[in-house]
């Protein structure tokens, strides 16, 4: 790789062994992917908490703090595994709680803003078109690349933090024009009204065209121009099922005024149509005949203000069934706004729980299953459906309205 004088100094140890080690990791990754150079970034976002990094991660952060390293660009933290206010309610382990408390101190010392959100692009910082950033959390990456036209690869926990500490990242993949071109063409005749249906579209495209380097272009025949939350769920699902980091929606997203503009001569690997029947089949994969439900979860990604308002409107004046736990997650900024507008009370008065700063699937859901005997779960998040099977749950994907009805009746509807 071609390195600047500053970068060579860092590698030589002139700025300390710790920073040299961090940059060395970045150069190794860059060389793996054939990067010519490192590119300076304006913003970093990373995932790091006790549930995902264990004691090894705490030790890693401690070494960086002890070396006096701090973030060189504004840096935020992704949703994490503990809502300290509700930790007892969910029987979260003392180890997780203590780990989160220790982590927050370490992150403060590293100059990281522990906003604990996976929807920072809806609440904290929106990079401009063409801006190079280094973001962790796959859903945030899909949104940044696709909807905002910013440029980032998946940056895992340690890699996102490394980018924050050096202020740069290897220039490969979605930092470069050539990799942003569409190579999958999907004509969608389905109507797609609810976020769950957009998530189902992500499931179908992600499963069929899996691969980090594949970029689908979606052509909508009848669906209205999607709103931010719908694109959020689509990208999160696409990333979860397909490991994809970018998509285009023709006529909607900034690099796709036409399919040809999005494609720019790249070989098309696959081309297919998604109909209403395909979306219906995706929604009906589990519990096609309906059934009893233990959990109704709105998360993955955290809810925006308007998603939470929709939930509040659906629950206002009603009661969640005694046999059901209803969980919604969001970040602190949205939580406070919901409280000010009475929407938080509408959800909690109905018996729901609103968690902040976390996303439920990182809260050790396997332990919760064992503790509370939960198994059957309904959600409007296709991403959660994909993840939660590994933790021993049987998940069903349903529309937001169907999820609310499942919470109130204790039964998920048939499809």
């Amino acid at each position: 790789m071609r390195l600047t004088a500053f970068e060579r100094e860092v590698l030589d140890g002139s700025h300390g062994d710790a920073l040299a080690g961090v940059l060395r990791e970045q150069v190794s990754v860059g060389e793996f992917f054939g990067a010519d150079r490192l590119v300076e970034i304006s913003n970093a976002h990373f995932m790091g908490d006790r549930e995902v990094f264990g004691q090894a991660g705490l030790d890693y952060l401690t070494r960086l703090v002890d070396a006096g390293l701090t973030a060189r660009v504004p840096t935020t933290r992704n949703a994490q595994s503990v809502d300290l206010e509700h930790a007892q309610l969910f029987a979260q382990s003392a180890d997780l709680i203590e780990g989160e408390q220790r982590t927050r101190v370490l992150l403060r010392d590293l100059g990281v803003s522990a906003v604990n959100t996976c929807i920072g692009y809806q609440t904290v910082y929106q990079p401009r078109f063409g801006e190079h950033v280094a973001w962790g959390d796959t859903g945030t990456v899909a949104y940044a690349n696709s909807v905002l036209g910013a440029r980032t690869n998946y940056e895992s926990g340690a890699a996102g933090l490394a980018a924050a500490l050096t202020g740069r990242t290897p220039e490969y993949g979605y930092h470069l024009d050539t990799h942003r071109r569409a190579n999958v063409r999907v004509r969608v005749s389905a109507a797609l009204t609810d976020v769950a249906e957009w998530g189902a579209l992500g499931t179908i495209v992600g499963e069929r065209c899996r691969g980090y380097w594949n970029v689908p272009a979606i052509e909508l025949a009848q669906a209205r121009g999607p709103v931010s939350d719908q694109l959020k769920h689509f990208g999160a699902s696409l990333a979860s099922f397909g490991s994809m980091a970018m998509y285009h929606v023709v006529g909607i997203t900034p690099e796709a005024p036409t399919f040809e503009a999005a494609n720019r001569g790249r070989e098309v690997l696959d081309e297919f149509e998604v109909t209403d029947a395909d979306i219906e089949a995706a929604l009906a994969r589990e519990f096609p005949g309906g059934g009893e439900v233990d959990l109704v979860v709105f998360t993955a990604p955290q809810l925006s203000f308007f998603e939470a308002k929709q939930l509040a409107d659906g629950l206002r004046g009603r009661k969640v069934a005694d046999s059901v736990r209803l969980i919604a997650t969001t970040n602190s900024m949205t939580f406070e706004a919901l409280s000010e507008h009475g929407h938080l009370a509408a959800i909690t008065d109905a018996g729901g729980v609103v968690l902040r700063g976390t996303c439920w699937y990182v809260m050790d859901p396997a332990a919760q299953r064992d503790t509370f005997g939960w198994r059957n779960l309904v959600t409007n998040s296709a991403k959660l459906v994909n993840i939660i099977r590994a933790h021993g749950y049987r998940p069903a994907l349903r529309t937001t309205a169907e999820c609310v009805e499942a919470a109130v009746t204790g039964r998920v509807s048939s499809r």
Binding site: G54, Q55, G136, T138, S156, G157, G160, Y212
Partner: protein, 136 residues
Amino acid sequence: MTSTTFAVRQATGPTVEAEAVVSPVPFSARYDLDRTTGVISRGDHPLLGTSVRDRILIARGVQGGVAAGWAFLSMRDLGVGPCGLVFGATNPVMVQGAVTAGLPIVAGVDDAFFDAVSTGDVVRIDPARREVAVVS
């Protein structure tokens, strides 16, 4: 002892030789593994109950998110993680996670490799030579 060698397009890390665990489905550290034991825990995974501890994990593809970035470091610390990774195609998270944990990782392997290798075979990864070999 015979060995069959295959070229790889992308590689980093030290040379390692160990028993293989070959996943017939795309690999995800978060979705597939109990990261405290190194045992594959996803209910519908074809290798449910198999340990990746001190083995070379092999899959044609990967899926899922950023958790792998910390998972390999955490599993190495607990002594339950794989000792090498071989993928047909990979995403940055696997590479970043492997580099942070000091694990060798290679990708862009010939398709024939996946037809030739089975769980239980001894495999050698040699990133410096950009090679992976089925040793026995």
